[in-house]
């Protein structure tokens, strides 16, 4: 382990490195690391983790989302979601409503309490983003949105649009339809 080893083959940069954009890869890592640190601190006080945050976020953003849709968006399995969702329901942050058209479905909605928490978690992230936009002197916010969306797998971009992107209002044309 800690033998007085000499590097068998310590490595230097090769020419191939030139083609790889390590700078942006690393910046994305650092930016996302700190971006998620904001809500983490809040979640800890509620006994929740990132998994709860993600579920609550999407349920809040897409009222009436079904369990299957949520699994697609999060890209996790039903079993992984189960515990987290149950905790959010048991503690009153999310409620389930039997699907109107298809009674097998469970539409998910954030309660008032859930909405408040989702907002509290989003606030520091939103602030961080806006401060960064200002600091970086980004004039073209739309360009950033285009870039981020282009980073998503083409076949999954529909998920991005499914949000109430037009604005945020959550209500729209009534969720209980």
């Amino acid at each position: 382990m800690k033998s007085p080893m000499k590097p068998s083959q310590p490595q230097e940069a090769t020419q191939e490195d030139e083609a790889v954009d390590f700078a942006l890869i690393e910046l994305l890592f650092f930016a996302y690391r700190d971006f998620t640190s904001d809500p983490d601190a809040i979640l800890a006080r509620y006994g929740f983790g990132r998994a709860h945050h993600r579920v609550l976020h999407f349920v809040n953003r897409r009222p009436g989302l079904t369990v299957a849709e949520l699994l697609e968006v999060l890209r996790i399995t039903k079993q992984s979601l189960a515990r987290v969702l149950k905790q959010l329901i048991d503690t009153g942050y999310v409620v389930q409503v039997q699907g109107p058209r298809d009674r097998r479905q469970r539409e998910l909605y954030a309660t008032k309490k859930g909405h408040a928490l989702a907002l509290a978690l989003a606030l520091p992230q939103s602030r961080r983003i806006h401060t960064a936009l200002e600091e970086a002197g980004i004039e073209d916010r739309a360009a950033l949105e285009r870039f981020l969306k282009a980073m998503v797998n083409p076949e999954l971009r529909a998920q991005v649009d499914r949000s109430p992107s037009g604005g945020d209002r959550t209500s729209e044309r009534g969720k209980m339809e």
Copy 2:
């Protein structure tokens, strides 16, 4: 659980929502989700996980990094790093060299094999980034770098600079496009 429950308090949008930038928050989530999916597939073939990726990435990028420095960058504990680092060393992707000045330190270096894997993992991510820049028609790459860096906690920005960015050819202030 699946009682014929009626939402005790289904929630609608409040005015506060307007102030929160849910759109960008969500885009960052989706972008990062798919950004990390590229290397995940490769790692699985090696029996490694994301933790190995992160360690290998930074060791490759910052040859001679010490264990303490690595912990700071990854923001994890020594015990969390231990297993992963040991596996990378045991399988020949990383080597340790006793620190020249301070013999207690262990400088970390990627081996030729480690360098190759780090590159293989970075390639699809780099490609995704560049394709996205093109698709989004980003002319000002530097602006994106400024934004991402501004997203990092001020007190931790030094970590970003510590990379071989002075030369990380590829980037600089050039705009590849």
